[in-house]
């Protein structure tokens, strides 16, 4: 692989993320770690959305539901005094995968705008389920008093330890995504997005491939949700608000749809922009909103496109 400027920038981005705690120590500004941690967890969720949206052509407008399901899995178990991380994260991944599987069974029979609307409606059901969960705080949400516990030497309560755990998960997810999209499964998925009829004619079981990708993405986003719950020590229905799903789409498109590193770049850019613009002015969305419109009108290749990357490359 020739070291193009784009690859250098991506390597530098990952290196920079790895060095954030060190920089925070040197400058004495612990806030950097919090900020970077949020970006890393959201990047994980964006990667999972990109898997189905970027490579599979399935625009899910309810992806934040999986963040919520993963988060509530941790929160509800913690509320009942179960802080075993394996159990909590196992439930988060399992419940999200199951929810995605069932959603997919119904939603994946439709295409285009109907798929968008069904995924939105299903996410709204999950949102209102959380609002109605009186035992777990309803609208007010649920505070989590104990961190997930895996092994004695891994303390998630320590912000730097937790940050590196999230970063490690992100790296593993990137490596696995890269292998997946360049394997037969990934080629079939991209083929379906590009020309479904042709793949069908070739005898590819289209529905099963789409359902598998959709379930996998749900599971990955559930994992991100479990991490997010540990990060915030709090879960609430607002994690699943449909505008949060919109945010995830923004991250993916901002970074570059259907590219490996696009979602990471997009999530980091989103968190940094949010931080910087809100420092600049209270009503930062006054700038951010038009920025999105410009990104779309300018051709929608995202930051990855600016760096010379090619879609699905």
């Amino acid at each position: 692989m020739r070291p193009t400027p784009r690859l250098v920038i991506y390597a530098a981005l990952l290196l920079a993320l790895a060095l954030v705690p060190l920089a925070a120590d040197l400058t004495g500004n612990r806030f950097y770690v919090t900020l970077a941690n949020r970006a890393v967890i959201l990047a994980l969720a964006a990667i999972s959305l990109n898997l189905i949206m970027g490579y599979g052509g399935m625009i899910s407008f309810g992806h934040a539901a999986y963040l919520g399901i993963g988060g509530y899995s941790v929160g509800v178990l913690a509320e009942h005094g179960i802080d075993n991380g394996w159990l909590q994260f196992g439930l988060a991944i399992g419940a999200s995968a199951l929810f995605a599987f069932l959603t997919g069974l119904v939603a994946l029979r439709s295409r285009g705008v109907y798929f968008i609307m069904i995924s939105l409606a299903v996410a709204q059901i999950a949102y209102f389920a959380a609002v109605g969960a009186y035992r777990y705080g309803g609208d007010d949400g649920l505070t989590i008093f104990s961190d997930s516990r895996f092994v004695p030497w891994l303390r998630l309560g320590d912000s730097v330890t937790f940050y590196y755990l999230c970063l490690a998960v992100l790296l593993v997810a990137l490596i696995l995504t890269n292998r997946l999209v360049n394997a037969r499964f990934g080629f079939v998925l991209r083929g379906i997005a590009a020309n479904e009829t042709r793949l069908r004619a070739l005898g590819v079981p289209v529905f099963r491939h789409r359902l598998a990708a959709f379930t996998l993405a749900g599971a990955l986003c559930g994992l991100a949700g479990a991490l997010l719950a540990n990060f915030a020590d709090f879960v609430s229905p607002s994690m699943m608000d449909w505008t949060r799903s919109g945010d995830l789409i923004v991250m993916v498109v901002l970074g570059g749809v259907g590219t490996l590193m696009g979602p990471v770049l997009g999530a980091v850019a989103f968190v940094v922009l949010e931080q910087e613009l809100s420092n600049l002015m209270e009503h930062w969305r006054l700038l951010f909103g038009p920025l999105l419109v410009i990104v779309v009108l300018a051709g929608n290749r995202g930051l990855d496109g600016l760096l010379g990357g090619r879609r699905n490359g």
Partner: protein, 305 residues
């Protein structure tokens, strides 16, 4: 029984408000093939314009009437400046750009009108209640809202099915290219349709303003339900939007009103209140998922997509 009648009227009122939003959505969706997430923002802007104009004029009726052309102009401006560039784009592009507009408008009203929610005081003659049946009082203003909604629905039906401009709109909805080829100025038609759709959304916002609190983000929840209504009724079908809007409005209101009482049988009172209201909201989305699973093109499909 009295409570049921009251709730049915409330449901009809919600349904008609949903129809005002969904009518614009479904036309824009059907004719320009545009998914517009900023439609809820136009609803919100209608309410804010009403706040200011009622304040300036000192008259509820005058202010509310003046707010209508204001939203119409805003809608046309948004279409000309931004949205017309999106018609040929993918749904993903449209979602993203209109989401950007939504964020913009949400913060714009915070800058102009401030953080605190606004309320509109009704004039005295609307603050009374009317006896709809002997011994059954109902808010006069809510009755007015229902009447206004029905009149607009009727007017819309007449315009679309009985006038020349309506014919063009229907032609545009069923085949955009051929309509253009027949010499219809499609670009102006689109601007007009979008502007009228915006005005209808604004009207819903204006009418709801005295009942709700006018605040940033007020359009978001109702927008999602209106999207549900649009897809459920069949994209591009105003008749479908009307049927779906009334059904959803009634179902949502009745479920919220009566589910908590039903749940009180098995749950403690406060839990039943929370769970019942949430379950009422879940039902309409469940209905949509089931309907679309069975009839993927909605209830009244305009054409095969």
């Amino acid at each position: 029984m009295i409570l049921a009648l009251e709730q049915i009227l409330n449901g009809a009122q919600l349904g008609l408000m949903l129809f005002l939003l969904a009518a614009g959505l479904t036309l824009v969706f059907g004719i320009m093939n545009l998914v517009n997430l900023a439609h809820g923002s136009l609803y919100m802007m209608g309410a804010y314009f009403a706040v200011t104009l009622i304040d300036w004029t000192g008259s509820f009726v005058l202010g509310a009437l003046l707010a209508l052309p204001a939203v119409l102009l805003l809608g046309i401006a948004v279409e000309v400046i931004c949205l017309r560039r999106l018609y040929a784009r993918s749904h993903l592009d449209q979602l993203l750009a209109t989401f950007g507009l939504l964020l913009f408008f949400n913060d714009l009203v915070l800058v102009i009108w401030g953080k605190a929610g606004r309320t509109i005081a009704l004039p005295g003659w609307l603050r009374t209640s009317v006896e709809i049946l002997p011994g059954v009082p109902y808010s006069a203003y809510r009755l007015l809202v229902i009447a206004a909604g029905l009149v607009v629905a009727l007017g819309l039906w007449f315009t679309i099915s009985r006038t020349r401009i309506g014919m063009r709109i229907r032609a545009g909805a069923s085949d955009r290219e051929i309509t253009g080829a027949l010499g219809i100025d499609v670009a102006s038609l689109f601007s007009l349709v979008f502007g009228v759709g915006a005005m209808l959304a604004g009207l819903a916002g204006i009418l709801n303003a005295p009942i709700l609190t006018v605040q940033s983000g007020m359009g978001e929840r109702i927008l999602v339900i209106a999207l549900v209504v649009t897809v459920l009724g069949g994209i591009g079908s105003v008749r479908g939007a009307f049927v779906a809007a009334l059904s959803i409005g009634l179902l949502d209101t009745l479920a919220r009103a009566f589910l908590p009482d039903l749940l009180k049988v098995v749950l403690p009172a406060s839990a039943a209140q929370t769970a019942g209201a949430a379950a009422g909201s879940m039902i309409i989305y469940l209905l949509m998922v089931i309907t679309l699973a069975v009839r993927p093109q909605g209830l009244f499909p305009v054409r095969a997509r």
